[in-house]
């Protein structure tokens, strides 16, 4: 190997190591923080379970078939991840800027995408405790049936869904980068209306094919629809045949990742030109 090739290769290796270290560091902060703060752990597990329980009891009050309670429990677990995408990914750079940390990220020699990837992986790990509490509570307290023999394909679809959802979070993160207090309100508006559009508490097909297709731009919509179909078959009133969903999620992930990289670069440059990357209390 020529000396310049060796130097290039070593430089590439060093960059890769540095970026992987950044991913690990950003992810580990989230994981450690979520277990260090007991009130968070309580707030992230017990309380979302209470809200989900209210919707289970709606179906129970309506004397709906039992699988509908399963729809709510699965939706409740998925809401945990969606909320993490909104509050832990999309609006994170806003919080970092408010705390004066954004500029520290920007002067480090690592890719912003590595920081976002670290946030995503840490966020997924952190949220899994919450989702697990919702699923376990749903199964134990409400006796919701989840056929475990179908858990493996459902888990595969779930992982693909998380990939696409957090990639969307990366796009939103770059869009939110320059915003002020509207971040707060926009994040809020991405909650209940998305719960509706994505059919978190009922089969999305109930809203009609047109609206359901629009809702499918959000990866959680199709992901949840597919997971329900895997567990409950035709009773899930699926929107699309389940075999279509994995390739769609993979395509969405690829598109969202590409768009997020472009968008992040653009918004960062715009922020630098307008001097808004260090503005606080906006």
């Amino acid at each position: 190997m020529a000396p310049e090739d060796a130097a290039r290769s070593s430089g590439l290796g060093q960059r890769l190591r540095m970026n992987l270290a950044a991913v690990y560091a950003r992810a580990s902060v989230r994981v450690k923080a979520s277990f260090r703060e007991r009130s968070w752990l309580l707030g992230e597990t017990l309380f979302p379970f209470l809200a989900m329980s209210a919707f289970v009891l709606v179906y129970r009050g309506l004397r709906a078939p039992r699988e509908y309670e399963g729809f709510v429990v699965l939706g409740g677990a998925m809401i945990a991840y969606w909320n993490n995408v909104i509050w832990g990914m999309a609006s994170q750079f806003f919080w970092e800027r408010e705390q004066g940390q954004l500029q520290l990220y920007l002067i480090t020699p690592v890719s912003r995408m590595s920081i976002l990837l670290g946030m995503a992986l840490g966020g997924m790990a952190m949220t899994t405790t919450r989702a697990a509490a919702i699923l376990t509570g749903g199964i134990l307290l409400f006796h919701v049936s989840l056929p475990l023999e179908r858990a493996l394909p459902a888990f595969g679809l779930f992982l693909l869904t998380l990939g696409a959802a957090y990639s969307l979070g990366m796009i939103l993160s770059s869009l939110f980068l320059l915003w002020g207090r509207e971040v707060w309100h926009t994040a809020t508006i991405l909650q209940e209306p998305v719960y509706l559009l994505s059919g978190f508490y009922f089969p999305v097909s109930a809203m009609g094919v047109g609206i359901a297709i629009v809702g499918s731009i959000l990866p959680v919509t199709l992901g949840l629809d597919g997971i329900r179909q895997v567990f409950y078959g035709p009773a899930a009133h699926g929107l699309l045949p389940v075999r279509w969903i994995p390739p769609i999620q993979i395509a969405l992930t690829a598109i969202f990742l590409f768009v997020s990289a472009v968008s992040l670069r653009y918004m960062e440059n715009l922020g630098k030109q307008e001097g808004r990357l260090t503005v606080r209390g906006d």
Binding site: W40, L42, L50, L62, Y68, L196, F202, A206
Partner: protein, 285 residues
Amino acid sequence: MIVGPVKRLAQVLRTSAWLGWQVEANWAEPWIFLMYAIAKPLATTLILFFMVRVVSQGHANAETFRFIFIGNTFFLYVTEVLIGISWTVFRDREDYETLKYIYVAPVRLLPYLLGRAFTRVATATLGVLVALLFGRLVLGLTIGVPGTNWLLVVGAVLLGLLGVLWLGIILAGISLVVARHSMNLNEGLSGLFFLLCGAIFPLDVLPRWALHLSLLLPFTYWLELLRRMLTGRGFAASLGRYGDGDLWWILALATVGLCALALVWFRGCERIARERGLIDWKTNY
């Protein structure tokens, strides 16, 4: 002699309400802000609408949805106002770092917080009104019966709202002495009330122990009273033994009790916060 303090109180309430409005709403044009304010209640209404619709094969009907709709719509006051007041403490203390300046100004914290809550009350009221109109005009629900006394409905809403405000002050007191991330406990409390007071399902499907807890909450009686006034009959069989007058009394006594408790509790929390130097605490790590 009383005019001076009352005038001063009104001035503080008015000014802090104006400040609250600026903090909450001046980031956008008013119509955009209003769109944001009504998105949540409309979305929740539609979620419940579709939930009822998908299982309506002979079990649920429009009447059932009407009860769910009314409970969910008025519960918006609880989520918005309850969380809003305690959130003000965290935002002022840690984000804007202005809470300490309230203490060096000639105003008391309690009326300041009540004034700040006005914006939340206003946005919640708007959300409730839009949701009611949506239910009436789009979903075709009948809101009110021939015998409905609308003045009494407004009175019942205000009485319940007073209870929510005082409970919000109790939570604000707690917020003064705890770290910012305890906010999720306040949000969780709102979720707990949502579950226990049967906002979106009949109380009778709750397990027995939860039903006992539910009967300790003033909001349980508040929602039942509103449902009776707007539909002409009750929703929860567990409250069937109470007449409308009983519900009024329970609600009024609970509100007075909450008010007394809130005044004592908040004063105690404020004293602890000042003794421990927590007024300019920053826990946003």
